[in-house]
């Protein structure tokens, strides 16, 4: 096993664990903190795949900006520890877990487990992650999706204003 592979399994395990802890946590603030851990793990995974730019953006945008926003909202709403109704949710949880496990199982069958270490990264991946290549692709081949994203954000903004504005004129 290469160093990359060992690193991958450690970080991937961290990502899964932090995600589970985030969902099951009783305290919203703790949940948010686990989410940050999860984002960091993902950033490391991107790095292993030689996607430096996305790794940085992941930390800057998600772990930085969006998480701060989440924390603000939690503070403003003054959410405490979730009320105890574990009994009520127990059955729901077990149903959810069982169904999700079946889905996971089926997806695993579909994907099939490749022999360890056979894949490796394609050569192109080594240069694809740089800012230059991303920039070039984004403004050439993916110009249209890039522009559409701005429309998407505009639409979302209008929507949020419609829903959140206190008084319409």
């Amino acid at each position: 096993m290469t160093v990359d592979a060992i690193l991958f399994f450690i970080v991937a395990a961290g990502a899964v664990a932090s995600a589970v802890l985030m969902i099951t946590g009783q305290n919203p603030v703790k949940s948010v903190l686990f989410l940050i851990v999860n984002f960091f793990c993902l950033a490391v995974l991107y790095l292993i795949l030689h996607a430096q730019f996305i790794a940085i953006i992941q930390i800057l945008v998600y772990a930085g900006a969006i998480m701060v926003l989440f924390l603000f909202v939690i503070m403003l709403l003054n959410l405490g520890t979730e009320e105890k109704h574990v009994d009520a949710l127990n059955m729901k949880r077990s149903v959810a877990v069982i169904l999700s496990c079946i889905v996971l199982f089926l997806i695993l069958i579909a994907i099939g487990l490749p022999a360890a270490g056979t894949g490796g990264l394609p050569a192109s991946a080594l240069v694809n992650g740089t800012v230059e290549t991303i920039g070039r692709d984004l403004f050439r081949q993916y110009l249209l999706p890039f522009e559409i994203t701005s429309l998407l954000l505009l639409g979302a903004m209008v929507g949020v204003i419609v829903l959140a504005k206190k008084h319409f004129e």
């Binding site: 997806i107 081949q141 993916y142 999706p145 559409i148 639409g155």
Partner: protein, 473 residues
């Protein structure tokens, strides 16, 4: 500039629509009392867009380095979306006045959602598909909750949003699996190399999850649970918009993926057939038990998703042409029906049960006749257009050796007569219990009449449309 010109011309309808949407956005921020201006701008803009899209049907091409398909089916679907948006906007104005929520932002959101739909139909790349779906969905989430004072409307919006996000996750996962197995997100590439990858489970699982994401938007069983609740709570014209425009948009992607070259392996065929049969049976049978007309139409829209999926499962030219025909006809009949319901509806989600339509044939003969036309068309009774859509789809199924599916379909459309007819019976054969009021403007009335006339026209002269449809792909 020379390089850009052909691109700009071929995406004319899309550009026009975006320009109109941005113009409305500007108007909203500049003018006080902007609602009438926004309304008329949107209506005029949509009419112009239709005018630009029609001649483009005959030209096939692609734009933006293979990101978009232009002309042909993309324009045909665009026209369907524009019609849906136009009817929705016109009907909404009267409706929103009743609900004290008449704001220009409504039209803006409809226009943005329509842009998303056009992108879905024109997409030649899965990235565009995803962006289009999200643009459409986000606007629809907000539109469903547009009546902010209504609990039902808020609930509708929230449910749609939560489940929609769930569905998007699977859609994206499907796209990731497709990219993982083929190394490309280009739809053209995928359809051309379908046979190469058809034996790969990873690839098929990707397709399957993509279908899951789209089946949610279509409202096919078992991804239909949200439909009745969301349609019931959303503003009535918006429910119509979701049932017609959003459904057509999701179908445009599946058709682009499979029916374009008529290949889908036995797995996808079986899968689509199961979804189709389940949707037809559940939608039609459960619709019988409904007492609320909006819920009845919601289950009916599930059933119609089933009919159209039947055409896809058949996977031949009959089935595909049938769906294309049906989607346009369905836009008119369903939006017409939802429009009439929105005329009848009163403050606080009232006047929505079958009983509220009692005796409409004598008190409001104009509305009753139109409603009957839409109901008969939905039930697939000739000479209305609904019949031919079904007819083609079922012929396609028989041709594809799926006679069992055609039998299920025809049997279920027999069942459907029961509840469509019930509304007609109530309107004509029952006495009025309470005074009915209906409020609608002249323009709304004109558009409903137009929709009914088009249904009749398409039923008597379906060839005129079919001749165009057969040239789309």
């Amino acid at each position: 500039m020379d390089l850009l010109t052909p691109h700009l011309l071929s995406i004319g309808p899309l550009l026009t629509l975006v320009a109109v949407a941005l113009l409305v956005l500007l108007l909203e921020s500049i003018i006080t009392k902007s609602e009438p201006v926004s309304f008329w701008t949107s209506v005029a803009g949509l009419l112009v867009s239709i005018g630009i899209a029609v001649p483009g049907i005959a030209v096939h091409g692609s734009a933006f380095g293979g990101m978009l398909r232009t002309g042909g089916s993309a324009n045909y679907f665009s026209i369907i979306f524009f019609i849906c948006a136009l009817l929705t906007i016109v009907f909404s104005r009267d409706y929103l006045k009743k609900r004290d929520s008449v704001f220009g932002e409504f039209y803006l959101l409809i226009l943005f959602a329509t842009v998303g739909m056009v992108l879905m139909a024109a997409a030649a790349d899965l990235i565009i598909v995803f962006l289009g779906i999200e643009l459409m969905s986000i606007c629809l989430y907000v539109l469903a909750g547009f009546i902010r004072g209504s609990v039902l409307s808020n609930e509708s919006s929230l449910k749609y949003f939560l489940l929609g996000a769930f569905a998007t996750g699977f859609l994206l996962y499907g796209i990731a699996l497709l990219y993982g197995s083929t190394g490309s997100t280009s739809i053209t590439f995928l359809t051309e190399h379908f046979e190469t990858y058809a034996s790969s489970r990873l690839f098929l699982a990707g397709i399957g999850l993509l279908i899951v994401g789209l089946a949610f938007k279509i409202g096919a069983v078992p991804f239909h649970m949200w439909v009745p609740d969301v349609y019931q709570g959303a503003p009535t014209p918006v429910s119509g918009f979701m049932a017609t425009g959003a459904k057509a948009a999701a179908f445009s992607i599946i058709i682009g993926l499979f029916a374009q070259r008529f290949v889908h392996g036995v797995q996808i065929g079986t899968l689509l057939a199961i979804l189709a049969a389940a949707s037809m049976i559940l939608g039609n049978v459960v619709a019988i038990a409904q007492t609320n007309v909006k819920r009845m139409l919601a289950y009916s829209s599930i059933a119609h998703a089933g009919y159209m999926l039947t055409g896809l499962a058949a996977g031949n030219a009959y089935g595909r042409d049938g769906i294309l025909f049906y989607l346009l006809a369905y836009a008119f009949m369903n939006l017409g029906a939802f429009g009439l319901i929105s005329f009848m509806e009163q403050e606080g989600e009232k006047h929505l049960t079958f009983d509220d339509y009692a005796g409409l044939g004598t008190t409001k003969p104009f509305l009753a006749v139109l409603m009957s036309v839409f109901m008969f068309s939905l039930a697939g009774i000739p000479p209305f257009a609904g019949f031919f859509g079904k007819y083609y789809i079922f012929v396609g199924a028989v041709q594809a050796d799926m006679t069992w599916l055609a039998i299920v379909g025809v049997l279920m459309s027999v069942v459907s007569v029961f509840y469509y007819l019930r509304l007609v019976m109530v309107m004509y054969f029952q006495d009025t219990l309470i005074g009915q009021t209906a409020s609608y403007s002249a323009s709304s009335a004109a558009f409903v009449v137009l929709a009914a006339l088009i249904l009749l026209g398409l039923g008597v002269f379906p060839s005129s449309l079919l001749a165009i449809i057969t040239t789309l792909y």
